[in-house]
């Protein structure tokens, strides 16, 4: 029987986590627009001030209402000069954004790998304050997280304001948070802070490490899965 020798190899490749921040920018978010933009700016500031987090968590910002909009294409945060402000308007269409996400992931993973990155399974942070206004969104979500699709992302969802718990249960794969509705602005800020802590911890561990604040800052390290 032939033996296979494994020579030690120096591997200093850099790992990155494609991170999709998907924000509900429908008109119902209008009252919270100020907090939303301020919190997004805080996320940007924090990421930009830490080269290793910025390098690890490549960011794509998608805002959606009647249509999805690619606000920041997949980028290293240090290459993003400024965080755009979002002006909320329109309906809450889930289906199109899930479809856009799948297209983005397919392209972004290919591009990142071509750039020499070791690419982890993408993470989608999905923030919504309401129920979807379209009907056939579930099939598109299922396509996004289809186990047969090798590049399917982890989805972590945050529901606040008028978010329907029954809907929220259907749009996550790893964790879902639902605010109690008493203070939507605080919940929004908390949701983005939670995402930020997740990214910082993930950069520290070089793998997606979820921060479940509801259980007292408990962290959950997921398997390190690299994308082909």
């Amino acid at each position: 029987m032939m033996s296979v020798s494994t020579e030690p190899a120096l591997d200093l490749g850099l790992t990155c986590l494609p991170t999709y921040l998907v924000i509900d920018a429908s008109s119902s978010m209008g009252p919270h627009q100020g907090v939303l933009n301020a919190t997004l700016e805080r996320v940007y500031q924090t990421l930009r001030r830490s080269p290793r987090v910025s390098e690890f968590a490549h960011i794509c910002l998608i805002a959606f209402s009647t249509d999805p909009h690619l606000v920041i294409p997949m980028s290293e945060v240090s290459q993003v000069p400024v965080m755009p402000e979002i002006v909320c308007a329109g309906a809450t269409e889930y289906g199109k954004v899930f479809e856009l996400l799948r297209q983005c992931i397919e392209n972004d993973v290919t591009t990142l790998r071509a750039g020499g990155w070791d690419v982890l399974r993408p993470a989608v942070f999905f923030l919504t304050d309401g129920a979807p206004t379209d009907r056939n969104w579930k099939a598109r979500f299922d396509a996004l997280v289809d186990p047969r699709w090798p590049r399917r992302p982890h989805v972590i969802s945050y529901g606040f304001g008028g978010a329907d718990p029954a809907v929220l249960k259907q749009v996550y794969t790893k964790l879902a948070f639902l605010a109690d509705g008493s203070d939507s602005e605080a919940a929004l800020s908390e949701a983005l802070s939670s995402m930020l802590n997740t990214l910082i911890n993930s950069a520290e561990n070089n793998q997606l490490t979820l921060v479940a604040q509801t259980t007292g800052f408990q962290t959950i390290a997921l398997d390190r899965e690299y994308m082909d």
Partner: protein
């Protein structure tokens, strides 16, 4: 080697820790708002309200009493060091000064010195300025990137200075037999003003070996994940950190940068770094003390035969071959190889002392053995101003006397000659 027991009176920068080496949360009093939460091994790091300059680091989970023994020995270790090394650990690290315990002797945390203010700098992002600790992370970025956010660019000399200071602290850990393991971007601050460093998370150090935490971009190819990290792992990771900070490159191209870069004031540094990173036998990685010496402009005495190297990703064989033969003078050769004008690497003898064409007369020092203690040399007696004046006066008087005597003698001779002539 580390030994000793924890007791009070340890210094932190300019402030002395006034309490014993083992305290309770009640002993240390009120704590201020957390400056860091839920990072690494700690659930929170909070300032001691009544003792400026000190922080309480509270662990995620209480640790058993045995871990208290380790921490106590660590707390006491600086007292076993020379004054110079002790000054290094006090100035350049958050060396723990006390263990925080609770009923049953479980370890719930430790007291550490806070990083001095000089490690904070105004960083400007998107027009917003805020003071923050500057991690060595930033050094693995080009100077231009630092300027963009308002951090004073260190330049090549500043980068060397930071790396030398980092190696000084790491060398002290090595002398104590301590393994740090987690050398990476996030565990040290540097000052853009004076290029000093401040290494954190010292309280996690263990004697001899500790679990090797797998970090993909810091993975030592010769230390198995899930095994133990030891001094040789630390040598690899310190060399990698230094290489990335010197070259401002974050990927494997840092190794290429070291192989092809030139540091005229530190000619031996590339050879030391390449041997630390690429030695096929991990136990033949040069010591951190050797690295510190090379970064200070000193020599490198490479063991013979030369350490075989592992293949380096992203660095062509030609460049590496050139580096093997040329060491720090490889840049020209690499360029010539690229342009096809070079035939073979030119051998340049190691010149640890003296100038390029003046071989040193200094004796070779065997760095594998402890250096002898230098005895103070009795100063040679210096000529005092009084003695010099007297000597000069005596010479002057003698000269005058001789001159007068000569004149008298000549006068007498002339007179005698005239008298005889007249007769």
């Amino acid at each position: 080697m580390m030994s000793g027991t924890a007791s009070g009176g340890r210094m932190s920068g300019n402030a002395a820790w006034p309490l014993p080496g083992v305290v309770t949360l009640a002993d240390i009093g009120a704590l201020g708002p957390a400056i860091s939460e839920n990072t690494g091994q700690s659930i929170a790091i909070q300032p001691l309200s009544g003792r400026p300059g000190f922080l309480a680091k509270i662990y995620r989970q209480p640790r058993p009493a045995q871990d208290g023994d380790r921490l106590d020995a660590l707390i006491a270790a600086p007292e076993t060091l020379s004054a110079a090394d002790r000054a290094i650990v006090r100035a350049a690290s958050s060396w723990p000064v006390a263990r925080i315990t609770r009923a049953g002797n479980a370890v719930v945390g430790c007291v550490i010195p806070a990083a001095p203010e000089r490690f904070k700098t105004e960083v400007t992002v998107g027009g917003v300025s805020a003071a923050q600790h500057v991690e060595v992370d930033w050094l693995a970025k080009p100077d231009e990137d630092l300027r963009q956010v308002g951090i004073a660019a260190p330049g090549p000399a500043g980068r060397v200075a930071v790396c030398r200071n980092l190696a000084e602290l790491a060398e002290v850990l090595e002398k104590l037999g301590l393994v740090y393991s987690d050398w990476s971007y996030s565990n040290a601050f540097w000052s853009p003003v004076d290029h000093s460093v401040f290494v954190i998370d010292i309280d996690g150090c263990q004697l001899g070996k500790m679990p090797n935490v797998h970090q993909p971009s810091w993975a030592d190819p010769l230390t198995p994940a899930g095994g133990d990290a030891d001094r040789y792992t630390d040598r690899f990771r310190v060399a990698l950190l230094v290489s990335r900070c010197l070259t401002a490159k974050r990927r494997a191209d840092a190794i290429g940068g070291i192989a092809t870069g030139t540091w005229p004031e530190q000619p031996a540094a590339p050879d030391v770094l390449l041997d630390m990173l690429l030695a096929a036998d991990r136990e033949r990685r040069p010591s951190i003390g050797q690295l510190r010496l090379a970064l200070a402009g000193g020599p490198y005495f490479r063991p013979a035969p030369r350490t075989p190297w592992l293949p380096a990703p992203g660095v062509s064989d030609a460049v590496l071959r050139a580096a093997r033969g040329e060491g720090p003078a490889v840049a020209e050769t690499a360029g010539a190889l690229a342009s096809g004008t070079a035939s073979a690497p030119r051998k340049v003898p190691l010149k640890p002392f003296g100038t390029a064409n003046q071989p040193s007369r200094k004796s070779v020092v065997d760095l594998s053995k402890p250096l002898p203690t230098l005895e103070p040399v009795a100063p040679a007696p210096a000529a005092t101003p009084t003695r010099g004046a007297r000597s000069r006066l005596r010479s002057l008087a003698l000269s005058v006397f001789v001159t007068v005597l000569t004149i008298v003698a000549v006068t007498l001779a002339v007179s005698l000659f005239n008298a005889l002539f007249e007769r």
